[in-house]
């Protein structure tokens, strides 16, 4: 046994390769990727929209704590719904790719390499969906509030607060993508190569 340990070097998969692989895989499955990115975008839009509305409402009424608690609960519900959606779509996505993963494992990919590919893919989707969602949420929140309560109140909220909402949206989206992919990635990475190769859709 010692012989095997010393003579066989553990296989590698550089991060840049995993990132490239995740990107190309994502591009090859355009529709599925767009669905994931879009569901992240929608929930982050909703989340940032609520945050912006809360800030504007607080600037108008001065009831910061009550308003923020209400909006925060709604945000949590929206994010939970999105998390279930992302996990479900990622599970379908890994099921489609069983054979590809089986082949990769057959050629030398370890479990961690497979997990890396999925997490990178989710990172890209989370960042794209999150950025789009955060900016949309900010724009919609500002326009809706501006039309309802007037632009003066919208302008009363410090710019820094809006930037914080956008950044929080992007970070949440990335985390959402990672959380949603964790279980599907772990599930598929743990498959024995023969199980993955045997799988037919």
């Amino acid at each position: 046994m010692k012989e095997a340990t010393t003579s066989q070097r553990a296989t590698t998969f550089p991060i840049i390769q995993a990132l490239k692989f995740g990107w190309e895989d994502m591009m090859a499955r355009g529709t599925r990727s767009r669905i994931i990115a879009f569901s992240i975008l929608l929930s982050v839009t909703f989340m940032v929209f609520l945050s912006v509305m809360a800030s504007i409402f607080a600037a108008m009424t001065g009831e910061i704590a009550t308003v923020q608690t209400h909006y925060f609960l709604m945000e949590i519900i929206a994010l939970l719904v999105c998390l279930v959606g992302v996990t479900n779509t990622m599970l379908m996505s890994v099921t489609e790719r069983f054979k590809e993963i089986g082949t990769m494992k057959c050629l030398g990919a370890r479990d961690t390499h497979v997990v890396l590919v999925f997490l990178f893919e989710a990172l890209i989707l989370g960042a794209l969906g999150g950025s789009g969602g955060a900016l949309t949420g900010l724009a919609v929140g500002a326009v809706v509030s501006g039309l309802q309560v007037g632009w003066t109140i919208v302008m009363q909220v410090p710019l820094q607060e809006y930037v914080t909402h956008v950044l929080r949206g992007v970070v949440t989206a990335v985390l959402l993508g990672q959380l949603g992919s964790l279980y599907p990635a772990y599930y598929v990475a743990r498959l024995r190569p023969v199980e993955a190769l045997r799988h037919e859709l």
Partner: protein, 245 residues
């Protein structure tokens, strides 16, 4: 000649709908270095299961599989992955190329896992694709290639890390007669020129022509192992069964 692959009393059982199914039983096989051995048998005889066990893609329920005298069951998962990457090349009936990678990238993939540099990978992948007659298809995706060309890419990929063993699971199963023959001839050429051991499962009887030995598998047991010379049938006589997959 030393044995490079050895199976000792190997058995494999599956549980299928709460029922135990014995896929292999008492498999004893010694494959010598540089040998071309075909495992013949009807569908469901356990050929692929045996190949999966030899390749470390699955573990036996009983017995031992030795690769260069090392027991695969006693290795860690990382060690088995490493053996798969560096010592074994796989060729599948359904080619199993990664569809979004070009022919060149497909061939280079095992070399990424083996830790080769980009320059090394590209040079070797180009050489291998040239060897299998696809130097003009480097940047084509699998979907832009014919079945025979895809299988050639798979052969090139199997050779990427200069493995000592090639495991081919019905490599001609999805190909027409002429293309199948070309792949078989290519495998034989590689075996002779590179001193690679080839273990090939098939129920395509023309494989006999290029084999050193033939193991006949039926109902999960090896019925007999014969030398090529001992088999009286020729591929020409057996042509009518070629279409059987």
């Amino acid at each position: 000649m030393t044995s490079i692959v050895e199976t000792i009393e190997v058995s494999k059982e599956y549980t299928l709908r709460n029922e135990r199914v014995r896929a292999l039983e008492g498999i004893n096989l010694r494959v010598k270095r540089g040998e071309y051995i075909s495992i013949l048998g009807p569908s469901g005889s356990g050929k692929t299961t045996l190949l999966n066990l030899i390749g470390g893609l699955d573990l036996p329920s009983g017995g031992r599989v030795l690769i260069e005298n090392k027991d695969l069951s006693r290795m860690s998962q990382t060690e088995r992955t490493s053996i798969r990457c560096q010592k074994i090349g796989y060729i599948f009936q359904t080619f199993n190329l990664i569809d979004f990678l070009s022919a060149l990238d497909n061939v280079a993939l095992p070399m990424i896992f083996a830790g080769k540099s980009k320059k090394e990978r590209e040079a070797r992948a180009k050489d291998l694709l040239k060897l299998v007659g696809l130097s003009d298809r480097l940047n084509h995706k699998p979907t832009e290639l014919s079945g025979g060309q895809q299988q050639r890419v798979a052969v090139a990929r199997a050779l990427a890390n200069s493995p000592s063993i090639i495991l081919a699971d019905e490599p001609t199963g999805n190909l027409d007669l002429a293309t199948g023959l070309a792949i078989v001839t290519l495998l034989y050429r590689l075996k002779t020129e590179m001193d690679t051991t080839v273990i090939c499962t098939t129920h395509d009887l023309k494989m006999i022509e290029v084999s050193d030995r033939i193991a006949w598998l039926e109902d999960g047991s090896i019925q007999r192992i014969e030398d090529r010379q001992g088999v009286t049938l020729t591929a020409a006589e057996l042509e009518p069964t070629d279409h059987k997959t």
